[in-house]
């Protein structure tokens, strides 16, 4: 809301400069970002809170100024003018829907001379960004900005039947509004109609057909109060936002209707001539019941810690327009002014007193300590997880919770599995994700498009699963990783090798170890989105499957136009975090030396490392302490169906030093049985 400093000064006689007003008004809740100095005036850009439509006017702002400066409001002095004729004999006003229009006042002025506005009026409107149209239109606009009451002037001769009907539009009715657009009306739209058709969108904009023109001589001045919700609905539906609708939407002052109209008529008589009717047609079915609110004096201090004298409380409230109804030792009762719809209860009065006493006068202190702080369960483990993945080269990603169908189809997620948004804002992004992978895949594509080919990302986030209709969707925490490109070193350009399955697996294994949770289990599996033979299911120690990982299938990779292998992992983080911590228990250090023997087996390439280890451990070989991997080899000199696996076996006894010969014998036995079991050859 733009406020003219000079205008404000006429209404408040303020002694403050524009810059001082900016600071003082900001501190009572009318935030002012900018003061623009013009030739003969300054303009304050006031950010009016949504509960204070009364401040969408110069008088409203001036009232706040007078409370700040302890002065009195100087409302414009009424001037007398000649009148003639009885309005009721000339026109009729009917309100068909008093719910949507609680008050409608009409006054007729005959013999008006439409013409340009005087210089002062043009300039005053110009300062606050309003374009001059003609004297009558300018005067209605002027009164709106002065008193906050939207007004409308009809060309009386253009009204069929010389009458006003406030009603809902009928299906199929249309209206060409002043901005030149043809508007389709619905039965939800409140209109001002004449005997035949709508002539204005109530509280929003007039119609072109009844607009004031140079030929106009008789003018009907409308001053009304419309239901806020109705105006808001219509304005939203039609995408309109006008000076009038902005005020009605937030709530105008229905007791200001006649006063504003009187002011308007008086200015028209002065500047455009004409003879108004003696009386006003005032249809007022929705009379406002004055509200009274009780203020317990002690509550001001209880809630704000401010010590304010009851006399000062009364001064502030009275200056703001509250009328004292009764007064006791412990409480004060006030009638709320008609322009303050926002004040309903004691706390609202306390706010009025506090803001005009000054929030800066409120002490600043911590509440007495009474509780101990606490992180969310799992937060510390998540912090470890994040940092562990960071140290393995994974950057943390955050994607929107709503995603398009692209990606989810490929991942085999059905449309019904994900909650659907009724009103997405990003075209197509209407599904609440049930997997983090689609987001990471598009993040990867975004990186490729920007020339980043070596990418490691992880995301921790909420995923959603639709339940039966009408039930809240399930929400849980998920972890996903994606990796592609070279295993780069920091500050060095060339990677020694490409990232693969085991980089992803190793990162998660270490993270889980650092979180002090039991090791995850990886089992070869088939998954639609993963490449056959390079995919694993991920399970908890308990055996419960919580996710999968592997190389992204070519079908998906091609759909995203990826030209290099991509590895992905996703697991249910909620389930992982819920698993029991590993209990660390010390083992005594060995007292006797161990003997190690390596063994290389040429085995079928589908025989897993885990199978071989499990087999060895199952044999209860004497003094066998540990089996570890030395390496695997496949390729040249080895049949395509085979691979070589080299294990290091450690033998140790707890109570004595082993002799070479006995280990030799045990190991030879183990070797020959392994060769037999796995149909292997020794290399």
């Amino acid at each position: 809301m733009l406020i003219s400093y000079q205008w404000l000064r006429e209404l408040s006689a303020t002694a403050l400069t524009p810059a001082e007003l900016r600071d003082r008004l900001t501190m009572v809740g009318l935030a002012i970002d900018a003061v623009e100095n013009k030739e003969t005036d300054s303009v304050l850009d006031v950010e009016v809170p949504s509960n204070r439509p009364d401040c969408l006017s110069h008088v409203g702002v001036a009232r706040e100024v007078t409370v700040i400066e302890r002065t009195n409001l100087r409302l414009p002095v009424a001037k007398s003018f000649k009148t003639a004729g009885n309005a009721a004999e000339l026109t009729v006003v009917t309100i068909d829907d008093p719910q949507l229009c609680p008050r409608y006042a009409a006054r007729l002025i005959k013999g008006v001379k439409i013409g340009p506005s005087p210089e002062w009026l043009v300039r005053r409107l110009e300062v606050i960004g309003q374009r001059s149209i003609n004297n009558v239109a300018d005067i209605t606009n002027y009164v709106l900005h002065e008193l906050g009451q939207p007004l409308h002037a009809f060309d009386f001769d253009k009204l069929s039947g010389k009458r006003i009907v406030v009603r809902r539009a009928r299906a199929g009715e249309r209206l060409k509004t002043l901005d030149g657009f043809e508007r389709d009306l619905t039965d939800d739209t409140l209109v001002i109609a004449d005997a035949v058709r709508p002539v204005a969108l109530a509280g929003i904009m007039g119609g072109e057909d009844s607009e004031i023109s140079e030929q106009t001589t008789d003018v009907l001045i409308e001053s009304a109060y419309f239901d806020a919700n109705s105006i808001r609905r219509t304005a939203r539906r039609l995408g309109m936002d006008t000076e009038a609708s902005r005020r009605f939407e937030r709530g105008a002052d229905r007791e200001n209707v006649i006063n504003a109209q009187q002011r308007c008529v008086e200015l028209i008589c002065e500047l455009a001539g004409g003879l108004p009717t003696e009386d006003v047609i005032d249809v007022y079915p929705g009379k406002l019941q004055p509200r009274s609110v009780t203020l317990r004096i002690a509550r001001v201090k209880d809630l704000t810690s401010l010590s304010v004298e009851p006399k000062e409380m009364d001064r502030i409230l009275t200056a703001l327009g509250f009328a004292k109804q009764s007064e006791g030792a412990e409480e004060l009762v006030y009638i709320v002014p008609s322009w303050r719809n926002d004040v309903e209860q004691e706390e609202d009065l306390i706010e009025e007193i506090a803001r005009h006493t000054g929030f800066e006068k409120i002490a600043s202190e911590l509440p007495p300590s009474s509780s101990s702080g606490e992180y969310q369960p799992g937060e510390m483990k998540q912090r470890i997880l994040r940092r562990a993945l960071n140290s393995f080269g994974f950057d943390e990603a955050i994607n929107f919770s709503f995603i398009p169908r692209e990606g989810t189809d490929l991942l085999g997620i059905t449309a019904e599995a994900q909650p659907l948004l009724k009103n997405p804002i990003i075209e197509g992004s209407a599904w609440m994700r049930s997997s983090l992978l689609p987001g990471l895949l598009s993040s990867l594509r975004h990186n490729f498009n920007h020339g980043n080919r070596d990418v490691r990302l992880f995301e921790i986030g909420r995923i959603f699963n639709a339940k039966t209709a009408g039930e809240l969707p399930a929400e849980s925490l998920s972890l996903a990783l994606i990796a592609t490109g070279g295993a780069l070193e920091e500050a060095r350009v060339l990677a020694e090798r490409d990232l693969d399955f085991f980089d992803l697996k190793g990162a998660v294994e270490t993270a889980v170890e650092l979180m002090n949770l039991p090791a995850l289990k990886f089992v070869r599996t088939a998954a639609a989105h993963l490449r056959q033979g390079q995919s694993a299911s991920i399970g908890l120690a308990s055996g419960r499957e919580i996710g999968s990982m592997g190389r992204l299938s070519d079908a998906i990779g091609n759909a995203y136009k990826f030209r290099q292998p991509v590895y992905v992992l996703e697991l249910q983080l909620s389930a992982l975090l819920a698993s029991e911590e590993t209990v660390v228990h010390y083992s005594p250090l060995p007292r006797f030396p161990s003997i190690v023997r390596d063994i290389s087996l040429l085995i079928d390439r589908n025989t897993t490392f885990e199978e071989v280890v499990r087999d060895i451990k199952g044999r209860e070989v004497q003094a066998l302490n540990e089996v570890r991997l030395v390496g695997t080899y496949e390729g040249a000199n080895i049949p395509a169906t085979k691979r070589s696996i080299t294990l290091r076996i450690e033998y140790r006894a707890d109570e004595r030093t082993l002799r070479d010969e006995e280990v030799e014998e045990t190991h030879a036995q183990l070797t020959s049985s392994l060769l037999k079991t796995f149909a292997a050859e020794q290399r």
């Binding site: 808001r232 809630l303 306390i350 911590l366 702080g373 992180y375 955050i398 920091e490």
Partner: protein, 369 residues
């Protein structure tokens, strides 16, 4: 050494050996002067060859089979009274030879070491050897810092659902039925009519229901509003809401808590300012600004020359909100506040386009620790 001349007396023999040494040592003499050695610019190979040659000279002239050793054995042939003088002479010559060779050896060794270290020197400014590391998201960094501060102030951290019922997202927060925020223009709805939470105040309601009062909590989390993405808006962002309900809580406690938080976040000199404002869920309501951390209040680009940075909203919990969770506003009072984590990120890191926060480009992400 063969060179014992039978017809020479022992002293002459000794002198002859000395002379022979001096003759052979001639080519090493320059090695006895370190400055000369340094300027000789011998390569490592040459120096090593010299070292070997010198070792041979040592053996030839000081070894068991050297002329000097042979001459020493002739002491029996020296007249008894001349023996001391002879002994002295031999010792003297031996010492002089040893000293010369050692000097040369020492200088050579030093030169070799110098050569070697030069060859083995490394460029210590090359990057250290480490795998590429990843980076925490700036939102995570700011959120964790906020959590740490409030845990230290005795607050519990809470979170709850992101898809919410009308009760938690609006009704319990005193947002009336016709409030614009409820419209599908501003708030996302699922086809089932549930709302994506538009503020984490929803968590306050859950937490008060779960924990009862008194309560001190903050709720950091994801919220959703139907804004078209632009440099200062995203349809999803992070927010932190705080709540403190107890007997005797006043606005002074609100001011003190927010001011303390901002001092810990932006430095001990940070000044906080409260301005009256309006929110449906608080009464009285206040917005808070803090003195610009960059210019300290004198005015700069970050604070748009005002010296103040707008940060969040706050106020005393509206009695209707307390009633919604069965708390008697005549007994308990409380304050609540909320601020945007994304906005804090933008301020702290000088971000001019917050859409970057959710694009996950590695060139962006790697700028944060």
């Amino acid at each position: 050494m063969s060179g014992i001349e039978k017809d020479l007396n022992p002293t002459e023999q000794v002198e002859l050996a000395h002379k022979a040494f001096e003759q052979e040592f001639e080519r090493f003499v320059r090695l006895t002067d370190y400055q000369v050695v340094l300027t000789a610019a011998l390569t490592l190979e040459e120096a090593l060859a010299q070292q070997r040659a010198l070792a041979e000279v040592r053996t030839r002239h000081l070894g068991k089979k050297s002329a000097l050793a042979a001459a020493r054995k002739l002491i029996g042939k020296v007249a008894a009274d001349e023996r001391p003088a002879f002994g002295q002479l031999v010792q003297q010559i031996e010492a002089s030879i040893t000293s010369l060779i050692e000097q040369a050896e020492r200088n050579l060794a030093e030169l070799i070491e110098l050569n070697r270290t030069a060859l083995e020197s490394i460029d210590v400014t090359l990057p250290g050897r480490r795998p590429r590391r990843g980076h925490a998201h700036p939102i995570t960094l700011v959120r964790e810092r906020i959590e740490d501060i409030f845990v230290a102030l005795g607050y519990v951290i809470e979170d709850d659902r992101e898809i919410e019922t009308d009760f938690y997202n609006f009704a319990a927060l005193n947002i009336p039925d016709n409030h614009p925020a409820r419209g599908s223009q501003d708030t996302f709805y699922t086809t089932d009519g549930f709302a994506l939470r538009s503020q984490t105040s929803t968590v306050q309601i859950h937490a008060m229901q779960r924990r009862g009062v008194p309560v001190r909590m903050i709720a950091p989390g994801r919220v959703f509003r139907r804004d078209t993405p632009d440099p200062t808006h995203n349809p999803m962002f992070y927010q932190v809401e705080g709540l403190c309900v107890d007997r005797g809580i006043t606005m002074a406690h609100l001011k003190g808590t927010v001011a303390e938080f901002l001092r810990r976040m932006f430095g001990p000199d940070t000044v906080t300012r409260f301005r009256p404002s309006y929110f449906p869920f608080t009464e009285p309501s206040a917005e808070f600004d803090f003195s610009c951390f960059k210019c300290k209040g004198s005015g700069c680009r970050i604070c748009k020359n005002s010296g103040w940075i707008e940060l969040g909203g706050s106020g005393m919990v509206h009695p209707n909100v307390l009633r919604a969770v069965g708390v008697d506003p005549q007994i308990y009072s409380g304050f609540a506040f909320g601020l945007g984590i994304d906005r804090m990120c933008a301020l702290m890191y000088g971000l001019d386009d917050i859409r970057l926060l959710f694009e996950n480009e590695v060139r962006f992400l790697k700028q944060f620790s």
